[in-house]
């Protein structure tokens, strides 16, 4: 959360996150670049430029694969949520690694001719009508352009400027970009590789990304079925006795929106489940210091009015609640973001504390 835009709001966890990421990437490149030539022992050796290009290209693929696994892993097991927290730094780092890969390739394979090397990249091979020998470089160009756009717009400034829905749609381009990387590798280096270790790692990595997304999607579908509620004017959320202080129950409304109903200090309030920052699931967070805290990046909201505490300005829609017997019901028509709503007092007999105990 920020009031003014600064490049990075550093904190200990971000330093640690970036440190671990850099150590992993550094070691990958170190062993690829330095340890492997002595193991390979080719005489004469692979050109250093090609060796470097391969190291950075392989590293970018590995990083992108890890990045794309984090999202579904966090959906399947919330213990992975800390990996999501600073993922954008991981993405930006990947772009630098990918640019280094592209630079080595362009400055080696496409240099030394009478033509401009960037133009040569586009015209040297134009066999677009065939699979074997297809100009696979074009897939790399597309992926790199997308990655640069995503990195350049990764700052919260751009999210606010473009609005979260537009920003989110732009950042979904990561999936076509990854598919493009898969095509780039499949029609490029894999066509020539005689040793199959790289092929095996590549296939496992790409399948892992696909499989985790599939599992996460199935899990979401199952969860949505359990959360879906019916009703026209008022929609049932849950029995009042099932709420726990500091936590929420989420319901999928007939109009497709999700509402998070929180119990705080014996009173119920409902806000949109989608965080104004990156649509994080607010109902899967919890109340810290009297504020709903998003599990993705820690954005906070006053559950009674959907507003972030001053001086922050983020707002989410609120909902009206009512109690029918012991049934908590929500009006599916959302209030405009930041609209205060009086919390619904529930009888003491129904209240469950944070520890899961019912007060005497």
């Amino acid at each position: 959360m920020s009031v003014k835009y600064i490049p990075v709001q550093w904190n200990n966890n971000k330093w640690l996150y970036d440190g671990v990421m850099l150590v992993g990437v550094g070691l990958f490149l170190y062993v690829f670049l330095n340890a492997s030539p002595s193991v390979l022992g080719y005489e004469p050796p692979i050109n250093p430029q090609v060796h470097n290009a391969r190291a950075f290209g392989a590293c970018a693929f590995a990083m992108l694969t890890v990045i794309l696994c984090i999202g579904p892993l966090a959906r399947l097991d919330e213990r992975f949520l800390p990996l999501l927290y600073n993922r954008r730094h991981f993405g930006v780092m990947t772009v630098f690694v990918a640019i280094t890969h592209a630079s080595y390739i362009i400055d080696w394979y496409f240099a030394f001719s009478m033509s401009d090397k960037y133009e040569a990249l586009l015209f040297a091979n134009t066999s677009y009508g065939q699979l074997a020998g297809f100009p696979f470089e074009i897939f790399g160009v597309f992926a790199l352009v997308v990655l640069v756009i995503l990195a350049a717009t990764s700052h919260d400034f751009w999210m606010k400027f473009l609005t979260p829905p537009v920003w989110k749609r732009i950042h979904y381009l990561i999936y076509p970009a990854y598919l493009s990387v898969v095509a780039h590798i499949s029609l490029g280096i894999l066509q020539d590789q005689q040793a199959h270790a790289f092929t095996v790692i590549f296939i496992i990595g790409a399948l892992l990304v696909g499989l985790l997304h599939l599992l996460a999607a199935l899990s979401e579908r199952k969860r949505d079925r359990a959360l879906s509620a019916e009703g026209v004017d008022w929609v049932e959320v849950a029995d009042v006795s099932s709420f726990r202080d500091g936590f929420a129950k989420i319901r999928l409304l007939p109009n497709g929106e999700r509402v998070a109903v929180y119990l705080m200090d014996g009173r119920l309030s409902a806000i949109s489940n989608a965080c104004a920052h990156q649509n994080g699931p607010l109902g899967e967070g919890r109340i810290i210091d009297c504020l709903v805290t998003c599990p993705w990046h820690g954005f906070q909201y006053d559950v009674r009015n959907g507003r972030s505490p001053a001086p922050f300005t983020e707002m989410v829609p609120t909902y009206n609640l009512r109690l029918e017997g012991s049934s908590v019901q929500v009006d599916p028509k959302a209030n405009p973001p930041g609209t205060p709503v009086d919390p619904l007092q529930i009888p003491v007999a129904y209240q469950m504390t944070k520890n899961g105990e019912v007060p005497a």
Binding site: M21, L29, I46, V50, R54, M114, Q191, A197, K354
Partner: protein, 253 residues
């Protein structure tokens, strides 16, 4: 509802004790995993083959007769310790460029050539120095050079650019290298066919179009692929020259 019994991570707050061990394990797996993958991927690279710039020979200067196929060759008549008389050298310029402008006026004449050798097995190429330092006419009568027809052949193999194949780039052949090879050929670097079966003891052929023309552009789509090809083979010194029928190029599975 999030599970109340599970620790909750907020990025700007200290990590809860219960999460620390888990995160340590994840971090260790991440670092060890990436290192291991880097090692495996790094050591899974193929041998680029024996071709290389022979900088260890130093600059080589020999004399011979310039021929055009249309790609320029020198049939060495006066050699040295490294390059014997009877050797045929393909000639190229710096980078992805040809030396046609210098070689064409000297066709059939005796000339002195100087440059760096690229060598892959029996395939020899000379990257010339600039201007007259690299290629200059020499006094004297050019001795006649044999050209021995070896008949019509159908061969299977790969069309490459001769310079990268000879060792300018390692690896310098294959589909991943296709765009680079095309760029070399566009620049007039001599194409070389690598046959899966040797003919008259050689697996390398300088490849041209029919009747002394350059490799047709239609063949560029087949660069780097395993193809079958038909044409006339002739021997010029220690080099075989294959004049292909453009319509005969066929991609093999």
């Amino acid at each position: 509802m999030s599970k109340p019994e599970k620790p909750f991570f907020v990025g700007y707050l200290p990590v809860q004790q219960a999460l620390r061990r888990w995160l340590l394990v994840v971090c260790a797996l991440f670092v060890v995993g990436l290192t291991g993958i880097g090692m495996v991927m790094g050591t899974a690279q193929d041998d680029p083959g024996p071709g290389a710039f022979r900088f260890d020979y130093g600059r080589q200067t020999v004399s011979g007769v310039v021929e055009l196929t249309p790609y320029p060759l020198v049939r060495v008549t006066v050699g040295n310790d490294r390059i014997k008389p009877g050797t045929t050298l393909m000639l190229v310029g710096q980078g992805k460029s040809n030396v046609d402008a210098r070689a064409v006026p000297l066709e059939g004449q005796l000339a002195k050539v100087s440059g760096i050798v690229l060598q892959r097995g029996e395939l020899n190429m000379l990257q010339l120095r600039g201007g007259a330092n690299g290629l200059a006419a020499e006094e004297g009568e050019a001795p006649p050079q044999d050209s021995i027809p070896l008949g019509r052949w159908k061969l299977a193999g790969e069309i490459c650019d001769g310079k990268c194949l000879a060792g300018a780039m390692r690896p310098g052949r294959g589909l991943a290298h296709k765009a680079c090879a095309n760029l070399c050929l566009i620049g007039g670097v001599p194409p070389v066919f690598v046959s899966s079966q040797p003919v008259d003891g050689s697996e390398f052929f300088l490849v041209t179009g029919p009747d002394g023309t350059a490799l047709p552009k239609s063949a560029y789509d087949a660069i780097g692929q395993f193809v079958s090809i038909e044409g006339e083979v002739e021997r010029r010194g220690d080099m075989l020259v294959l004049s292909i029928d453009p319509d005969s190029v066929e991609v093999l599975d």
